[in-house]
Symmetry: none
Subunit: 220 residues, 4 copies
């Protein structure tokens, strides 16, 4: 029963931290699994603890309450998504408008394809739901998109730039979000991104954008 307690001068600096981290990871993983497999109603702290193989006491050691657990789950998912976004933003700076739009879409698509089930369920969770959480993406995207649009202001015919940003970001988010369940094939093939890019670029520039042909690149 008794385990080796930490000794005064422990040779290992982080065994407890490691163990803690492992426990936290296990809990988070169990939480995600329950959410995805059984839905939010089955997402109870006791069940998560059980599934994770730890006591609820331990769960509460690491998470002060249920929302904190959910938050952390979201934070991690978000983190996974936003990984590499800087590079994209950088790329967008020197790219033509069409490319900027395409990058925004690409980023959004990636967000949804990292763990589509989890992404969907997180966006429907009541306590910190869509408004509190998914809005965060959109918001971050909004500011980046706004920056990019301002850099290309000359090409954009829309008078109210904020409105343009609003239309673009929400269109992208909605179309991609629903495509995960409704048109996954088009999402993965890039056909959807193509359509939406053409639409948005046309909207922003006020010029017709020729539909792409099946194979090589286009529009610029």
């Amino acid at each position: 029963m008794a385990r080796a307690k930490k000794m005064a001068a422990s040779p290992r600096k982080l065994p407890e931290q490691d163990r803690s981290r492992a426990t936290v990871d296990t809990i988070i993983a169990a939480a995600a699994r329950i959410l995805v497999r059984d839905g939010y109603d089955a997402f109870t702290t006791n069940r998560v603890a059980e599934k994770a193989g730890v006591s609820i006491g331990s769960l509460y050691q690491y998470f002060p309450n249920k929302d904190a657990l959910l938050s952390e789950l979201m934070r991690r998912h978000t983190h996974a998504i936003e990984d590499g976004i800087e590079a994209m933003a950088e790329r967008a700076k020197s790219a033509p408008l069409a490319e900027v739009v395409r990058i925004a879409i690409e980023h959004n698509v990636r967000s949804h394809l990292i763990d589509p089930e989890l992404h969907r369920v997180l966006s429907e969770v009541p306590p910190l739901g869509k408004l509190d959480w998914e809005a965060a993406f959109t918001e971050r995207m909004v500011s980046r998109v706004r920056d990019a649009f301002e850099a290309k202001r000359a090409e954009i015919v829309v008078a109210d730039l904020d409105l343009a940003v609003y239309v673009v970001t929400h269109t992208v988010e909605a179309v991609v979000h629903n495509a995960v369940t409704e048109r996954l094939a088009d999402l993965k093939s890039g056909a959807l991104a193509e359509e939406v890019t053409r639409m948005l670029v046309g909207y922003l520039t006020g010029k017709a954008v020729p539909a792409k042909r099946p194979s090589r690149a286009a529009a610029e």
Copy 2:
């Protein structure tokens, strides 16, 4: 208003006296108010009854269970929304493509403006949520839009008509839905509808659609 209707599942009992009709209305009103003001978590049958000033027993006299109450709330809201939709669909039949798009948007805008708060909260409710309920709108809109698009097939350059319908309907729904909380002014002024129409028509026809004078919009 109307006479007592026979609903298959919702009300457990058809109100036969004025008093009971009033009770039902009170309950529904309280339910709506709680949902809007306090969210779905606060939407408990006991709380609704209390807020309505009736006993919990009375609530269950008219609604066999919680879902039935929610259903009836949705049904009434839907009914209010779909009032006059036939006329719109008729109008769309003989209208040019741009007008068809505008009508679709208009309809969606109307849906959201009848009771925007309620509309939003209903669309986030878990049990009979988006998939069971709001999907109904979109679905109805989808089939109407598809019919309209088929009638104008010649003008549309998008190869995959289903994809076009998908993009259009989801774009409209998302942009309008979020505008209720984020850009209510633009929604009401019609500026948003203007933008989106231009975007979608451009997308569908593959031709540039000139932006209207921007200044005329954002007032009000």
Copy 3:
């Protein structure tokens, strides 16, 4: 609504600590006490928890539902009763018919005298009532009695052996069961067993069985 009920499995959780075992015992004891003292209508989970001095939550930690609690109560009572039944059955094998009958009665008497009040109330409980529970005794007794009777077939004049078993088992059960409340003295003194044995043996063998000395009263 349908009456679909889940059948109770035993305890939801195996008590792993002494404390929890004590809690379970306390709950069971309170349940028994309430059933005996106040009847089945007063047997509510909340009341049991209160009487046991534990929270309702604790009760449900160990019993997934009300029926499970009742089941466990029955199981324990049954266990107490059936203790030593094997020995009896063994004894009956090599005993004469009169002794077999006496043993059956004895066993039944013991069943009722372990905790007579509890026994009676359990046999009247609706959900898992007589048919589900007490029938189990009778059934077990029936098969044992049948075996014994078959072994003594030659001595038995009753043509339909099943009928004989039926008459014997139900007579024993009814007479003993009611004696607990109506003729406890005769039950304990053995006078009742004497009478019934004489009656049943006479019935089975078709021969007169002399009454024991009647004058020596059975008081205690």
Copy 4:
């Protein structure tokens, strides 16, 4: 129990009484039907009223509470059963002991066969259950049986007459009661009555009673 019989010629005189009686009858009938068909759990005052086609208000006009309704149902059933019992008792007076026993059994069988389902369900009903209600039969039977036994005291070898009465009445009741569900054929054919009579008479007189030919069915 003679009631005021309907007078042929006064349509004005008793219309309300007639109607009342009809209402009461309807309610009782509905109550019986629900009890038999759906069990005691479904036996709610509201449901009875609905099934009877009257308002609960009306039900409570005639029955001060649920138990009163149940009581009346029992009273009527009892009444139906005890109809003709006087004649039987009379017949028993001048009959030999064997005949007395047979008559007691016959009476009990009739009780159970008038409306077996109702009889069974009434005997299992919690509030006024077996102890409060079925005991009434047994009790009435007990006193009559006791009277009859006393008249034949000379033939009876059992020392404790009360004990004899107890054994006889409970045996009869139990065997017949269970036979309704377990051995209905034997009940109706009279085979069961035959067996039990033989057993009891043997028990009472201390003499062997020859078994009848097993194959034959009905009475003598």
